[in-house]
């Protein structure tokens, strides 16, 4: 006779699932509202999404550190809480950017907002689990939703971008599945902490190295795609170009935070097992990524593509911090993204307000450099704000990204990688050139032609978001201390 399965509700610890459930329920509510009344405006959906994210944020804040739940597949440790907060925070900055003064196709559909919430739930699952299957499910949920969001931007190159991203994403998913399968074959487990334990005991066995090597390479390729590391970065500029500007900015931050959390869990494990070549592979990839992307960014004619390459370069920067595998290195990842988020989303939002229906300046590009020529004369405040974002990205103190940069470099120095800090410094110097290029266009050149409507798309909510990003960028020096001590506490509490 079968034993009745006896699971007490308490042992499930369902509170660990609450944040994702809120996002999913919110998405369903939006779909239901649309079923009842089809004539509702995007403003309603934007605000509803914002409120749902707000509740979600609160639910994450209420979680206790180091808990497991739902048959122990959920893992709520410090990095999962921190990363979920960042994912939701980034989304809350992104979603009001839908409220442009001009009508854009994709925001007319409530499905956009539902998909958006499902995607966030997917990212949260990725961040809050060390079960390879659940991570895979979260990854796919989020990615499929994201492909659709890109394609909704209703332009030929948006479809191209979505298909390109989809193909690459599917490849990455395949590699992830194969890598996980090898790990399962090695250890008989899909829980990362068990995998680590079993692998540690079998490290000395002959012949096992090949399998470990294979699994690490497969997983590295998978996350190389997701994090746009060399040589898997080629999709990024085209996808960013095809996606709408705010979504491109969003993609340069939020999905990467989720992917970094998983990378910390997986590759941190490999490095902790004493596999130095994993560390060196990541370091070399990171160095090539930041250098190559910087060089590519130098020759771009389009600001959006330039920012795409710059995001790749920043990802390389952070990947190097991951390879250090110290608490400081891991803190640096989150600190950097927390600061980078405001500046980069702000910069993409500035592109968004100047987006026209037709390309007025260039056959192919929406945002060629010429478009911003003489912006100081047309829109002084906008030019100053954009210049602040650019200087911040270049790492000029006291703006936000500078503090992330010195924290990453300090972490590299502390771990004994002074050469890495030097390479980072030199790369920042190279990067300064292309950021300056935009500043030079805005401040030192004369307007090209009838540019009276560069700020075509501006509206009050967009101004609020940009203002918020500017304040966060400029006053970083004042909130770095609490931010760092919080992040450091959370990350050391979860043992990374």
């Amino acid at each position: 006779m079968l034993e009745p399965i006896n699971v007490s509700l308490e042992s499930l610890n369902l509170i660990t699932l609450a944040p994702m459930l809120i996002a999913i329920a919110g998405g369903l509510i939006i779909l239901t509202i649309d079923l009842i009344n089809k004539k509702l405006d995007k403003t309603l959906y934007v605000m509803l999404t914002l409120l749902i994210l707000f509740i979600n944020f609160g639910a994450v804040l209420g979680l206790n550190v180091n808990e497991r739940g739902f048959f122990d597949v959920m893992l709520i440790d410090g990095i999962s809480i921190v990363s979920q907060l960042m994912i939701i925070g980034g989304s809350m900055i992104f979603i009001p950017l839908a409220l442009t003064s001009k009508r854009f196709h994709e925001f007319a559909y409530p499905e956009f907002f539902a998909l958006f919430l499902f995607m966030i739930a997917g990212f949260q699952f990725m961040a809050a689990s060390d079960n390879l299957i659940l991570i895979f499910v979260g990854l796919e949920t989020a990615s499929l939703a994201l492909y659709t969001l890109i394609a909704l931007h209703n332009r030929a190159n948006s479809y191209e971008a979505a298909v390109k991203y989809f193909t690459m994403g599917a490849m990455a998913a395949g590699f992830f599945a194969m890598g996980s399968a090898v790990l399962y074959a090695l250890t008989g487990s899909i829980e990362l902490y068990k995998i680590a334990e079993i692998m540690a005991t079998r490290m000395s066995e002959t012949g096992l190295m090949i399998a470990i090597f294979g699994s690490s390479i497969l997983l590295l390729v998978a996350f190389g795609f997701k994090l746009s590391l060399f040589p898997f970065h080629t999709w990024a500029p085209d996808v960013y170009e095809g996606a709408s500007a705010p979504l491109a900015g969003y993609m340069s931050v939020v999905p990467k935070v989720a992917a970094f959390v998983v990378s910390i869990r997986i590759f941190g494990m490999y490095i902790d097992l004493g596999l130095e070549w994993v560390r060196w592979t990541i370091l070399i990839l990171a160095v090539i990524t930041m250098t190559l992307a910087n060089v590519m960014a130098l020759v771009q004619d389009d600001v959006k593509r330039m920012l795409a390459y710059s995001s790749i370069s920043h990802a390389g920067f952070i990947m190097a911090a991951l390879a250090l595998d110290t608490t400081e290195g891991n803190t640096a990842i989150f600190l950097y993204y927390a600061l980078f988020m405001f500046t980069n989303l702000g910069a993409f939002a500035m592109l968004w307000i100047s987006r026209h229906k037709v390309r007025r300046f260039h056959k192919r590009y929406d945002h060629p450099f010429e478009k911003f020529a003489g912006l100081i004369q047309i829109m002084p405040m906008g030019a100053v704000i954009m210049a602040i974002f650019m200087l911040s990205l270049a790492g000029v103190p006291p703006f936000s990204v500078f503090w992330g940069k010195i924290y990453v470099m300090q972490a590299a120095v502390n771990a004994g990688y002074i050469w890495l800090a030097v390479i980072m410094g030199l790369n920042s110097a190279v990067a300064a050139y292309y950021y300056l290029k935009l500043v030079v266009y805005m401040f030192l050149k004369d307007p090209v032609k009838s540019v009276d409507i560069v700020y075509y798309n501006i509206s009050k909510p967009l101004m609020v978001i940009i203002g918020f990003a500017t304040v966060a960028t400029v006053t970083a020096i004042l909130y770095i201390q609490p931010l760092v001590s919080y992040l450091y506490y959370m990350i050391s509490a979860s043992g990374y």
Binding site: V396, M409, V422, G425, L426, Y433, I480
Partner: protein, 517 residues
């Protein structure tokens, strides 16, 4: 007012922000008023400064990011005090004499922000705060060169920015490594320079760190072979840009050597004496020769300014009170003299829209006031006794003579070479027949121009005749610095070098003799 340094830093910045409200017609008066207030505040700083105390005064410290060890930490000693006063003075006079009218509002606001960053560099005692102001000073200067400069202005401004930025990022790595060592030895994070002073580092560490800081500072000075950005910057910059660049921004580099390199790495500094002396010699002689070959009046001044920076570098590495004190005095005199010369060239450029020497000749007969003031400044630049230029140059050469007579003799030729190219300018521009039609109706200096230059002439002569009030506080701090370096040095060579030089006059501070001149 114990927090006068904070006021000095933030007053120009706040004024710059408020300046956005002032209308275009009144902004020049606003700018002059603000910089005048800053200058008066620096005078107050000077008079409330305890001259007998060689240490750091007016210290302010607020922890900003305790986890990194970064704090808002300001202070001034005898070395930085006069550079701060000079900064305020040159900004005021530069602004008062400025002939620009295009986009004047943006210019004034940029200058006010620039003044904040410049004062910030000279009062910061926390490495990160120092770096913050150091980098931030590039931005307004980029705009000033790029927006008001000559035809190649964009190229020149980007070259200026990238050169300095690259160097300073390597310096930043050095700073981070320094903090890491401090953390390893003490268990606490700190970026405070005074905390770092307490560290005694192994020699190989010192050499690498010295190299990292050297790149940052040497590009700013600019030392040969990192000087290639400066002809473009000076050649393209508007008058006010060149004045600020030559008078103040270049001093950040030499000041950095005094504040960081010498006291932090005494052994490496002593080892670096010969290479740096050679580079400085090349700077002095080579740029003097280039200056002679120039056809453009402004380029002559630009190269002569670089040539004199070589003398300053030589003095910094003399490792004795005469050399170091003289070098700091020379920073002030160089600031005032080269600033004034750039202003003068700017004034003639405003009238004729050319700076080519071949266009001029016989100007002394139509512009007597201009010629007299130019003559005084030129003599001061050459180092004529009883002008400000003599004191510093003489002390530097005297100081370095104890290190290496040979190098000193070669460096001494700079006075001769300086006289050669400067007198050539004098001859071509002011004497000879007044042939050129366009020059015959030139107006002499107007009241604004005259009154912005007369104070500088007065200072040039006053400090040339009686430098003691300035030299003495500098000297106190310099002696304290040298005694500290001597105590801290670990290699015998370094101890000998610093010690020997000091004990030349039986261990007593020697500048009282020179000061009385």
């Amino acid at each position: 007012m114990e927090n006068i340094l904070s006021i000095l830093v933030f007053f120009p910045a706040v004024a710059g922000l408020l300046g956005f409200v002032v209308t275009k017609e009144s902004i020049r008066a606003y700018g002059i008023a603000v910089t005048l207030v800053v200058f008066l505040l620096t005078l107050w700083l000077w008079f409330s400064f305890d001259m007998n105390n060689p240490g750091i005064q007016f210290v302010e410290m607020i922890p900003l990011i305790p986890d990194f060890g970064i704090s808002y930490y300001l202070g001034a000693d005898g070395i930085s005090l006069f550079i701060i006063v000079m900064t305020a003075l040159m900004t005021l006079i530069g602004m008062a004499s400025m002939g620009e009218t295009k986009n004047i509002k943006n210019m004034i606001i940029s200058l006010l922000f620039l003044e904040m960053t410049m004062i910030g560099v000279f009062v910061a005692l926390d490495a990160i705060i120092f770096y913050l102001f150091w980098e931030l000073s590039l931005v307004p200067m980029l705009y000033i060169i790029g927006a008001w400069g000559g035809p190649l202005r964009v190229y020149a401004s980007i070259k200026f920015f990238l050169y300095t930025f690259t160097g300073s990022l390597l310096m930043l790595v050095g700073m981070l490594f320094m903090a890491y060592i401090y953390h390893n030895l003490t268990g606490v994070w700190s970026f405070a320079v005074t905390d770092w002073y307490a560290l005694v580092l192994p020699v190989d560490y010192q050499i690498w760190l010295f190299a990292a800081f050297f790149i940052g500072f040497a590009i700013k000075v600019p030392m040969f072979p990192f000087h290639t950005w400066i002809p473009y910057a000076h050649g393209q910059a508007p008058t006010i840009g060149s004045v600020i660049l030559a008078a103040i921004l270049l001093k950040m580099g030499t000041y950095g050597f005094v504040r960081f390199s010498l006291p932090l790495f005494p052994d490496a500094s002593v080892m670096a004496i010969t290479p740096i002396a050679v580079l400085s010699l090349i700077m002095v002689v080579y740029t003097a020769m280039i200056a002679y070959a120039q056809k453009d009046m402004k380029q002559v001044i630009a190269y002569s300014s670089v040539s004199h920076m070589g003398i300053i570098m030589l003095g910094l590495f003399a490792m004795n009170a005469e050399g170091l004190g003289g070098s700091i005095f020379q920073m002030l005199s160089h600031g005032i003299v080269s600033g004034a010369l750039f202003m003068l060239v700017g004034m003639i450029y405003d009238r004729r829209h050319t700076k080519l020497l071949s266009e001029f000749g016989g100007l002394a007969s139509v512009m007597p006031k201009f010629a007299i003031i130019f003559g005084v400044m030129l003599m001061a630049s050459v180092g004529l006794p009883l002008t400000i230029g003599f004191v510093g140059e003489f002390l530097v050469l005297l100081g370095f003579y104890k290190v290496s007579p040979m190098i000193t003799i070669i460096a001494g030729t700079s006075i001769i070479l300086g006289a050669v190219y400067m007198l050539r300018v004098m001859k071509l521009a002011f004497f000879g027949p007044l042939n050129n039609e366009a020059n015959q109706k030139l107006k002499d200096l107007n009241a604004r121009e005259t009154w912005s230059l007369v104070p500088l002439v007065a200072i040039v002569i006053w400090l040339g005749v009686y430098p003691k009030p300035v030299l003495e506080p500098i000297n106190n701090s310099v002696n304290a610095l040298l005694a500290f370096m001597d105590e801290k040095a670990i290699t015998k060579e370094a101890k000998d070098m610093i010690h020997v030089s000091n004990s030349f006059e039986s261990g007593r501070p020697t500048l009282s003799i020179a000061g009385g001149k």
